[in-house]
């Protein structure tokens, strides 16, 4: 039975259902038990934006507060994963990866290969990303390209409550380390989500709008902005096909390539900085494998090559908007040799 719940609730529900199903699933992070680590305190916070609130009392001993020591506790989640647990650790903002990246990319990501296939490390690292909350340069980044670069990691970027639930359940059941990116500006959006548990496969993009004139490949919050642009463009007679990657690693190359083979034109929309980004990654894929179908240059719409600014005035210009996407689509549809 599907009902409308928020992206935040969908994530919470995925955690709760998996904890219910499998007692090796544990949750840890700063204030995830909301100070409940200290005897006498209550489940006050549930993580900084309240995602885990309520789990502490439901699953005694399995929701852990942590000191502010990301290397230690993310590393602990990874260590526990090698020892039969399925930990879900919260890296509050992905911007904080700089104090704990080693445990993620040199340890978790490499164990299996480095140890000759003998390690299994089913850890999930949930993390918040993205601009829009006026949180400035150190709390607003979209660093998924850095993680996508790293072999051994899987990278998930749900755009809707439905995907958030299904992909998080899949992430928890997955036997590889998974980075799970939650866009902070999406927590309050609602959408239909089945009550029962379900897992969505990794590496399957979804075509969220069909169209024949231009393909827009995108992910995360930008799916919504791209759909908005597609709506505007339809009114102007340009039909966009919008592809939501859902996971950047593994990547569903086929869906992207098929779409571009159909439309002959590509715009990639990515909230990250432009250099070595998902936008360049998808551009390169298409320029290599669907070149023969391409009828125009590939346009990219990214945040600029600057840190995220604080002021509302600047941040609104910083985040790719429907107008910029529409302009890019018009550029490629209007292009001729």
């Amino acid at each position: 039975m599907a009902r409308n719940i928020t992206y935040r609730e969908a994530i919470h529900e995925a955690l709760a259902q998996e904890m219910e199903r499998d007692e090796t699933v544990i949750v840890m992070g700063e204030d995830n038990a909301g100070g409940a680590g200290a005897p006498g305190d209550d489940d006050a916070w549930g993580g900084v934006l309240g995602v885990t609130k309520g789990l502490y009392h439901k699953f005694p001993g399995r929701v852990l507060d942590t000191p502010i020591s990301e290397s230690a506790f993310i590393g602990a989640a990874i260590g526990a994963a090698t020892a039969g647990m399925r930990p879900v650790a919260e890296l509050m903002f992905v911007d904080f990866m700089g104090v704990c990246f080693d445990q993620i990319y040199n340890q978790a990501a490499k164990f299996r290969y480095m140890f000759g296939g003998k390690a299994v490390t089913p850890v999930v690292i949930r993390t918040m990303y993205g601009a829009g909350l006026r949180a400035a340069a150190q709390h607003s980044q979209s660093l998924y390209p850095l993680f996508t670069h790293i072999p051994g990691l899987k990278v998930v970027t749900p755009a809707t409550p439905y995907d958030a639930k299904g992909l998080l359940i899949a992430a928890i059941r997955d036997n590889d380390p998974v980075m799970f990116f939650e866009h902070k500006a999406l927590y309050d959006i609602s959408g239909p989500v089945p009550e029962e548990s379900y897992a969505l496969p990794f590496g399957e993009a979804s075509v969220v709008r069909e169209g024949s004139d231009v393909t827009i490949v995108t992910l995360g919050r930008m799916v919504h902005t791209s759909l908005e642009a597609a709506g505007q463009l339809a009114a102007a007679g340009v039909e966009c096909e919008v592809v939501d990657l859902r996971t950047t690693s593994p990547l569903d190359e086929d869906t992207v390539l098929e779409s571009v083979e159909g439309t002959g034109r590509l715009v990639v929309v990515d909230e990250a900085h432009p250099r070595c980004s998902i936008a360049t990654d998808i551009s390169a894929l298409v320029a290599r494998k669907a070149f023969g179908s391409l009828r125009a240059p590939i346009e990219m719409v990214n945040a600029p090559h600057t840190p995220v600014p604080f002021s509302s005035a600047l941040e609104d210009m910083y985040i790719p908007d429907a107008q910029r996407i529409a302009n890019a689509a018009k550029t490629v549809t209007g292009w001729s040799r």
Binding site: D31, A38, D42, I68, S69, F96, R134, A313
Partner: protein, 328 residues
Amino acid sequence: MTDTVERKALTKEHLLGVYRVMRTIREFEERVHAEFATGDIPGFVHLYAGEEASAVGVCSNLDERDTIASTHRGHGHCIAKGVDTGEMMAEIYGRRTGSCHGKGGSMHIADLSKGMLGANGIVGGGPPLICGTALAAKIKGTGGVSVAFFGDGASNQGTTLESMNLASVWNLPAIFVAENNGYAESTASTWSVSSDNIADRAAGFGMPGVIVDGFDFFAVHEAASEAIARARGGGGPTLLEMKFTRYFGHFEGDQQTYRAGEVEHARAELDCLKRFAARVTETGELAQADLDAVDAEIAVLIEGDVAAAKAAPLPTEADLLTDVYVRY
């Protein structure tokens, strides 16, 4: 913790000066709190009210040779190090006239010309940096010292811990000020800090560790002046632990259901401004009228800052892409 720390006499002018700075911080923070509630201030805002004696007790020993690094809860440190409150307020409102031209916001206010190396959005971000400014002062022989302020939560961050070791190994003129306000977000420091006191960690890094009543300006000033004098003289780093509480939530909007009662008690019984006033009027060093005059003056100042901030222009498209590099 004790009220009876022996202290070098401060002149009347000094006393008025430090009171003015503490009052400025308090007024600034109370006002930001009120303004935030109206919805006009964007982003994450962490207020320093209640902790003024720490920033001012430490920074009143510093001069223009010296550098400080701060935290997400940085307004107090900025003001104590001399950053202009008008520019700060404008920054918090995201205006072009702000300290960072609106690009930084509350969590990133900085003024390098004042030796203020920035509030910092990363817990544990500051301690490594001040090892560097301290090293620069040492190599250049300026006599400058550097101070990292950080919270109880940050005292568990590896970057903070290893910085203390580095400062000791390099024998740097560096001071580590752990501001233990009892909580990191909703997590109690009695839980997250595995030693009884943060100051107990100093021994593991070869430096003195001092526990200070963070509500008592004079205790802070005394402990800091001793540590700073030692650092200036080549005697190396010190860890100071301030014990106190914050008056507002972790950030504006925090419902604070994880604690109760503490703040009322602290405001009523321990407040640094009240204690300062009681002490200096008791000894006759200052008259209540002197303090009242400062209060009135500061109220006008902050009122003006808010009005100016609200009226100030926002950054424009031309600002979006500038100042990423000196030259690219």
